[in-house]
Symmetry: C2
Subunit: 189 residues, 2 copies
């Protein structure tokens, strides 16, 4: 039997989370933690993921028992990432939110918003480093530094190649990989 130490289904809010919702939120809290986002963001997304119908701002604060400030900021970020969408409900003045369920779109939003900018600023930094190496006095150091810089450039390039492949795999595409990845996928095109 689940739901230990809470006889009725609700402890604080008028409509507390059910067991399967709680466990599902936990998954999302961990997942967002993995990519460096605050737990409240995982909770909000998780709640919307579980919901049968679009939720309002107030329903989110109430069911999660977190502050209006956290919900406002969390929803703002999630909208930026394309992870939640506004859903217009005719009868109500309030905004209603729903979770984006396509993992491909989720990942695309994350990559575009959080990963790509880092990659681009990294590229700029690499260019700047070349100038700094030019200023070195010792030739031995210079040569060594250039070698390392070249490694950084290769890494940068490979990371760029990675992004479309990730989106393809998450989108359900099959890829023919090289001999090291026999397990991954066998279907061609």
């Amino acid at each position: 039997m689940s739901n230990p130490d809470q006889s009725p289904v609700s402890v604080d809010g008028p409509s507390a989370l059910s067991d399967w919702e709680t466990s599902t939120l936990e998954i999302f809290v961990r997942a967002v933690g993995l990519v460096g986002l605050p737990r409240s963001v995982g909770e909000i997304y998780g709640l919307l993921f579980c919901a049968m119908a679009p939720l309002t701002f107030d329903e989110i604060t109430e069911r999660l028992s977190i502050s209006r400030g956290s919900v406002s900021q969390g929803l703002k970020l999630l909208r930026q990432l394309g992870a939640v969408k506004l859903h217009y409900v005719p009868s109500s003045r309030k905004d209603h939110y729903i979770a984006e369920l396509s993992i491909k779109r989720l990942m695309r939003g994350f990559v575009k918003d959080q990963f790509k900018p880092h990659l681009d600023s990294g590229q700029a930094r690499i260019e700047a480093i070349e100038q700094l190496i030019d200023g070195e006095t010792s030739d031995a150091v210079k040569n060594h530094a250039y070698k390392r810089l070249s490694t950084l450039r290769v890494w940068q390039q490979r990371m760029r190649k990675l992004m479309p492949v990730i989106l393809a795999v998450l989108g359900g595409a099959s890829v023919l990989t090289n001999s090291e990845d026999k397990e991954a996928d066998r279907q061609i095109i």
Copy 2:
């Protein structure tokens, strides 16, 4: 001219970082931040990445001006990840460290150590959720919850497919992707 506001090359340690080293460390500090590791870990790896020769524990604390505790913990983590290796130096009692320069091995270590465990525990959690849903009373809720659970399962599956593909791309492999990824790569096998 670089190196502003520090007339000699050194401010604190006997051998402070040169400009290109500082900028390179910055790249690694940002990179490790992106995956949720402390800045000291990025600094240590970055320093070893830049170094022409294996460095000792003391050289690392001194050049980075960080505590022995941080260096010890940072090196421990980096060794776990396979991102730095011990390098035996006959003349010296001290341990000498070098940076792993293969991005594929770096990523493999990270995936194995940080990503895979999350994926596995996620899988376990998903199985547990099925039990919780069974306990729901309403049939409508039950059906909806099973649908969401099925989505989680698909995501889990796709994430697993992703890992070998990532390693292949970073290892320099070419992949034939589907029509959405024309740009990524054209070479077959």
